[in-house]
Point group: C2
Chain length 137, copies 2
Amino acid sequence: MVKSKFAISIHILSLLSLSDSEWLSSDIIAGSLNTNPALVRKELAALKEAGLVEGKEGKNGGSRLTRPANNIYLSDVFQIVKENHIFGFSPNLPNPACPVGREINGALEGLFDIIDQAVYEKLKSTTLAQFSAQLVS
Amino acid sequence: MVKSKFAISIHILSLLSLSDSEWLSSDIIAGSLNTNPALVRKELAALKEAGLVEGKEGKNGGSRLTRPANNIYLSDVFQIVKENHIFGFSPNLPNPACPVGREINGALEGLFDIIDQAVYEKLKSTTLAQFSAQLVS
DNA sequence: CCAAACTGTAACAATTTTAATAACAATAAT
DNA sequence: ATTATTGTTATTAAAATTGTTACAGTTTGG
């Protein structure tokens, strides 16, 4: 996973969640994130592909949630942005002539699956509505 | 956290755990990891600073565990290599003129602490001895 | 005591990953 | 028609990570 994708997606979704069904442009969102609209659209593309967000092209277009924020779990977001395990493997293939080198990645894979699952379960206990409510108190 | 540090440290510690109190050189360890001895020594430096490993300089020197592998928890390793949160923040400071931008990082910080803690607890349930035993079955 | 085998550490180079930017066709509103 | 906006691709720039080299300092064994 690209480390910061989760934070960026949560930020975007929080804005959409609080904008009350308005179409929000990538320009406005980029302003809050202090980044580039094209970057925001790339992130939005993933959220749209996953069905969490819908887009409207053309003038006065933008993005909005497809379902209420209290029906979106932070674990859903994790699942969307998660491309790899949270922990990474060593960049080089370990030495297969060594017993440890031969077996380590398989063992790590099993461990990493367990960790990913634990994070998923933890994130399942918070909805986007609960999270974004903190931001306007 | 540098993503792959955990995997590399676990690999090193597994080798030390299975080498039965012998001093293991960074050259041997690098051979199993298929990387450079200097890189291994850098990782070892962190493990030594944390008191998990001790080094012996000079000829026939090397590294070994300071305590039995069944008294080392994978959570100990996590704590050593973890420099930041598992999840990262967006690289830019969010816009403080936006209510969401102003509050988001604080809210994320709280969430990230919870996630780190969940991972820590999960890793606490496995010892280095249990992990490395899988590698030689 | 000397040569050899190590560690520990710093500095630097190379590579890879990530983020930023630019560009533009397509679409919709006014 | 003109303007605002998405969706997408390509490219450049920046940052992070990994690899490499070098060498002083420490032990061991002959």
